[in-house]
Amino acid sequence: MPFKIIASQCTSCSACEPECPNVAIREKGGTFVIDPKKCTECLGHFDEPQCVAVCPVDNTCVIDTSLPRYQAPA
């Protein structure tokens, strides 16, 4: 399950964009979005998801439960 950004809470501060190790975050329509195909939940990169750790608004970068969990390539 990749992360997603809840647009209504996003302040559009851009802090998450450069932190993403997968370059999965970009600006779209005034707020930021995560490309679910690129998001690896930061597994293998960092101990904690970077977008969650840097986001100034709690519970804005959250797991997208509608999608399957990320599988690390074998």
């Binding site: 559009s12 501060c13 851009s14 802090a15 932190e19 904690e48 840097v54």
Partner: protein
């Protein structure tokens, strides 16, 4: 600055150590205070400042109280991201009517910002300083920040560059800061004790990890002080901003003052906490109060013996434009800038600024003359006076049009700028409203007099009733000269028994929005 660093600097053939020593010894960047010390702000000349330092501060409105009457600054909002969370900050809400750090109306790209700077510099020739202060942290957005500096450094080299940071990433960027000739850096340091820091900062983001509590505050304070030392070693002027939060760090800021002074900071700016529930900050929502005018002044006074204190900070927005007391950002929206034909004319700017210098010299000469007459007087009486001014060091604003009053402390030592009070526009639509008048009286309630260019009969009567003397006889004259003249006459009246000197009460620091429309 530690001893070894000082040694390194001088062994490199530079005289940085010497200069830093001079900075550390220099005290009082305001007008001449009770101790009679000469200072950068009290004269049009450089006073006791080394030439290198004087050249850096003489037309920087934030670093010289005296300069702020004449020179303007602008901030460009190119740095939206932040790497720490502060309990007094909430960036979620933007309102054009709100003036506080961390708030902007629109973000700019470095290219848009560079064009905006040139447009403003051409329209406002006394604009001498470009700062990047957010709305996040400039050093959490290093590419955008330094790209902007590079563009301006190349096109308008006469504009001074400065930045304001929380200090977390400062040690990593000191060399780049020096490379672009950024010679003024402000660091916000609210504590040097992580126990206190934990009450101000819920978390920081550092090296790919979110830290909280004591650990977060410990990293932050270590990095801030390290960054400060690195900057002063390189001869870059540093101002330290501290937010005064009653009950949390108010007593502690005396320690902060000592810590930053010993590391070579040039100026310390203690600002009142801005916290209202509608700002949505942690402190706003939990009812944390800000200090009163008297509490703030007492803390500033107690630190002043140690180093220069800034008292003219307007806690401006990250996209402010103009003199410190005004905000002209609405004239320079991206839409308007992009439509503008901008021609950068360095010669016109230079000619204009030379005129400003003449004005400054005349102002100081007038004050010196008046001071000479005060020389024979001796009295312990100190009073505060509020002044309605549009700038240039003149009493040139109508009482009803004033958006703020500047406050001077008058004593036999002279007139000393000690602060300012924001007020609502009293006169809107041509008639005054009683509620607004009450707001003004509360804001300047600690003053004995208010100097104005003009004032209507009604407010005049109410001010007198409140014990504040409205003074319009010095309309369009120099502030300090007039204030000293008035004070001299006041002392004479007290001595002859015509009036009885009584102490005034405390005053309120307004928390609300600065209404930019005027």
């Amino acid at each position: 600055m530690d001893v070894s660093a000082q040694h390194d600097a001088s062994s490199n053939g530079g005289n940085v150590g010497e200069i830093m020593q001079a900075i550390a010894e220099h005290k009082g960047c305001g007008t001449t205070g009770g101790s009679g010390k000469a200072s950068c702000g009290s004269q049009a000349g450089q006073g006791d400042l080394p030439t290198e330092i004087w050249e850096k501060v003489k037309n920087h409105p934030c670093y010289s109280e005296e300069a702020h009457h004449h020179y303007a600054r602008m901030h460009v909002a190119v740095a939206p991201a932040c790497n720490i969370q502060c309990n007094y900050c909430n960036r979620k809400y933007d309102c054009a009517n709100e003036s506080r750090p961390g708030v902007v109306s629109e973000k700019l790209t470095p290219e848009q910002a560079a064009k905006k700077v040139l447009a403003v510099a051409s329209t406002i020739p006394q604009m001498t300083v470009l700062g990047i202060a957010g709305p996040g942290d400039p050093l959490a957005n290093p590419e955008k920040t330094f790209k902007t500096f590079e563009l301006i450094y190349n096109t308008a080299p006469d504009i001074k560059l400065c930045l304001s940071t929380n200090g977390l990433m400062l040690p990593d960027h000191v060399d780049t800061i020096a490379k672009y000739n950024v010679d003024h850096v402000t660091i916000t340091i609210n504590m040097v004790d992580p126990e206190i820091g934990a009450k101000i900062y819920p978390w920081i983001f550092y090296k790919h990890k979110r830290y909280t509590g004591y650990e977060a505050a410990k990293i932050l304070t270590d990095r801030q002080l390290q960054g400060l030392e690195m900057l002063t070693e390189r001869g870059i002027l540093c101002k330290v901003n501290s937010v005064m939060i009653p009950g949390i760090n108010d007593q502690h800021l005396v320690e902060v003052n000592k810590a930053v002074k010993s590391r070579g900071a040039f100026l310390h700016n203690i600002m009142p906490l801005i916290s209202a529930p509608e700002h949505g900050t942690v402190f706003g929502l939990n009812g944390q109060r800000g200090p009163s005018a008297q509490e703030l002044k007492a803390l500033q006074d107690s630190c002043e013996g140690e180093m220069n204190m800034m008292r003219h900070c307007r806690q401006c927005r990250a996209d402010a434009v103009g003199l410190l007391g005004e905000d002209r950002s609405a004239e320079f929206t991206t839409e308007k800038i992009m439509a503008m034909e901008v021609k950068y004319d360095a010669d016109t700017r230079k000619a204009y600024q030379e005129k400003v210098e003449e004005e400054r010299i005349a102002k100081v000469a007038a004050k010196q003359e008046e001071l000479a007459e005060l020389a024979g007087k001796s009295s312990d009486i100190k009073v505060l006076a509020a002044v309605a001014t549009k700038g240039s060091g003149l009493i040139n604003e109508h009482f009803g049009h004033a958006k703020e009053f500047q406050v001077y402390e008058l004593s036999t030592a002279g007139a000393k700028f000690v602060g300012h009070r924001r007020v609502d526009l009293y006169c809107q639509g041509g008639y005054g409203e009683e509620d607004s008048l009450e707001t003004i009286i509360r804001a300047i309630n600690d003053c004995h007099a208010v100097f104005v260019a003009k004032i209507g009969g009604c407010p005049k009567g109410d001010l007198v009733k409140a014990g504040i003397e409205p003074v319009d006889q010095y309309a369009h004259e120099f502030i300090e000269k007039s204030a000293i003249a008035w004070f001299k006459a006041y002392l004479d009246k007290v001595n002859s028994g015509e009036v009885e000197h009584v102490e005034r009460g405390d005053a309120a620091i307004r928390q609300g929005a600065l209404i930019s429309a005027a």
